[in-house]
Amino acid sequence: MGRDIVALDDLTVNNVGTFQKINEVVLPSRYDAAWYQEAVTPGQITKLAFYAEIPVGAIKARAFNNTHKISSLESLLRFQLPSKNIPNAIYIESFAVLEKYRGLGIGSKLLNYVIEETKSRFIHEIYIHVHVDNKEAIEWYLKKGFVKKDEVIKDYYKSLEIPNPDAYIMTLAV
């Protein structure tokens, strides 16, 4: 009792299946096994969110250098950090909360975690791709202080075969 009904916990080898389930149910993007495997290696910026002890949300982010252009979802899955470039941004790779559990502060808590991680690495920018048709998400990010860049990444989501596969880039200065 007295515990917050929303809580965050680490991602481990044992609950990575839950992480995958949440992503698969909520996001149109598909991530491969290697990506999930990497998610449980030490030093990752990942968390699971629990509501009343039920896992309902998850986030994964990583540090990268924003001169490196990400032109499609596949390249995101494959990209290796160019070692010469010191990371200057945190890129959110996946961020999902089960539909029925939205509006309960779960997303904010996950985002706050990433913001704290960003600060602790002396980085000042958070960076994310959003599907152009995903009004709900865009609005949410704007509300959280993100700024929508003017450029549109053409065919970012092409591999998913969805209508309008373009993406916006949104950033948050911290």
């Binding site: 044992n14 149910v25 509501y51 009343a52 039920i54």
Partner: protein, 774 residues
Amino acid sequence: MVTKKASPIFASKEDSNFREALKLYDAKQYKKALKLVEGNLKKHSHHAESLALKGCITFHIGAKQDAEPYILKAVEKEPTNYLVNHLAGLYYRSVEDYHKAAKWLKAANDNGSPNKPILRDLSFMQSQIRDYKNLKESRQLYLEHQPGYRANWTGLAVAQHLNKEYHAAVSTLDKIENIIKEHLTDADMYEQSECVLYKHQILSEAGDYERALKALENDKDSIKDMLSYMEYKAKYLLLLGQKKEASLIYRELLKRNPDNISYYPLLETALDTTSKPEELRLKLYEKLGRYYPRSDPPKFIPLTFLSSEGDLFAKKARDYIIPQLLRGVPATFVNVKPLYLNPKKSQVIEEIVLDFYQHDLPKLENPTVAVWTEYFLAQHYLYKNDLDSADKHIDLALEHTPTLVELYIVKARIIKHRGDYVKASEVMDEGRKLDLQDRFINSKTTKYLLRANKVNEAIDCISLFTKLDEDAINGCKDLHTMQVSWVLVESAEAYTRLYHEYQAKLNELRNCEAEENEELTQELLENIETYRGLALKRFTSIVKLYKIFYNDQYDFHSYCMRRGTPRDYIDTLRWEDKIHSTPIYTRALKGLSELYFELYSESLNDNEESSQEVKIKKTNKKQKKAKAQMNKKKTEFIARVESEKEDADPLGAKLLHDLQNSDVIEALFELFKSLIEEGKDLELTWKVLFKVYLIQGKYVLALQAVKNLNKVLNPYGEKKLREIGSRVVELATTSKNDDKANAAIVKVVEKGLHSAFPEFEQLSTDEFLELYNQ
């Protein structure tokens, strides 16, 4: 071991050699001892003592199967030599043949051995074989030899108790209590308390409550276990009719533990409310509920006695269920399930939850309530076997919160009820992957995989939770070491299904194809052999496990006396007395009996069998390369199914072969022997024994079996069951058509059938079978 004076056979040198050898044997210097003994035997090959000792030594360092002939020879030569007797006793104890061990140890003592500790060893054997009559004597004699230890007094009291000599047992305990009273140190107080409480257990079993109550008050100071003290006291008071006093103690007990559901009905008995109107009883529980607001029983028990017709039940059920749904208690359905025995109550509960689901749920903010309510309804409809509604609710729940492991379990259960075991195991596995460290769903998945006959996957699944030895592929060996009997019995059943499946395929192949496909036939034959062997092996491993369970009590015959825990000791003995009728063991026996009967009918059909074997050889020679490949596959397969390190018979092939070459029916009888007493209330016992006796031509016993079966299936004697009728007819015809049977016996059986089933005499067989068709 105490040596005996020189026997006449030997001059002093040999005799001293023997004594020296005995000393060495006691010091576990087996090789040196053997040298001396063999020297003796060279001179005089019939020296019984040396022979016996050689047997014992051979057991320890030589080939174990070579040992017994020496022992047998020795006791044949000098059956009254107590040294020989003693050595024989020790040998049989080592091989865990406690009957023979008891026999020879008793002989050693009767033949005048001065070695008193034999009596103690003897008493362990007698406890092990439940020879209580003689146990009392040996405990008594040993106590006379060593009266200075409390353990020996306790031992005698236990023996008297087991002989139902309650007063003698109590007086033995009283005696030692009085002797020891002045000398107790703090360290003895626990033992003292346990022994005193043991005395009460005996007194209450004897039914002398008045004396028991008085003694309890006298001994109050030495009792440490206050819970037992209070429980005994309340029980005595209740049985003596002092209900007011009893009720006070039950209230006291409730204060200690308000979650112990068994106190509530006892309190009601003491208060005489059980036959009072339900409103009054409800008041009692409402009051108790105010005292213990966090306890479940005061809220739940009224639901069991309130009438399903009245509004009170509906109101109270609502008060019970809805808060649990709001709080998200996963076990809400399990909590109310006992009420479902009454279909009307289940109906009322359905209405309550549906009302909540339709009217209150949409207004709630917390999304988890919706999941738990769907979860409840899914289980509710599953219980009612309305699978479509159950599916509807569980699918809604899964859509709502696909990360909740519990939902997958119910979904898989629903699919299982539809009969699709493979799909069910897949759904269960999907849930398991959400949380690999959830041991419950891991076990469930293992079970479902086994039900779907996917044995390898199942073992791999549960291997996440077993110890993995170096270079072990899976945890199969550890599952045997850790005695995971449910996995063993489920895999045995899976192997049986697999073997039947392949057999059916083979029959199909033989029936529909004019030209036999040799390769396929060969493969099927091998699969049949393998899976049948494995099924037999897994079932047999259960039988072995229970043998270990039984043998393991051996240490407690001395340990519990020394530690002063006779109450737990008695409980252990009583539990061991009925382990052969426990569910897993009887399931294994059921599986074995089916396998054995199949083997028996095959043995009647010898020709076919031999033709099969020839075929295996022929194809084996044909393709060497394929064979090599298959061997490799086989080695891998064996590594997966080995039950112990360097398993000599990993596939159970030898087990199967040995069985085929022995009297299968007699072997089956041996397995069921312990059930004649322990499992006399089980249908399985009498069904199998009936068939066994019938095959063996023991018709009188078969008659007894069918009568016992009728008693089990039909305890009130009002039913005419088809299962009985057909067996009656079968017995009558088989015995009559048996030319070898003794005519008098056949007559006895007929008479017995007529007196037990009078209609059988009055009606024709057809009419009789028509009557017995329930």
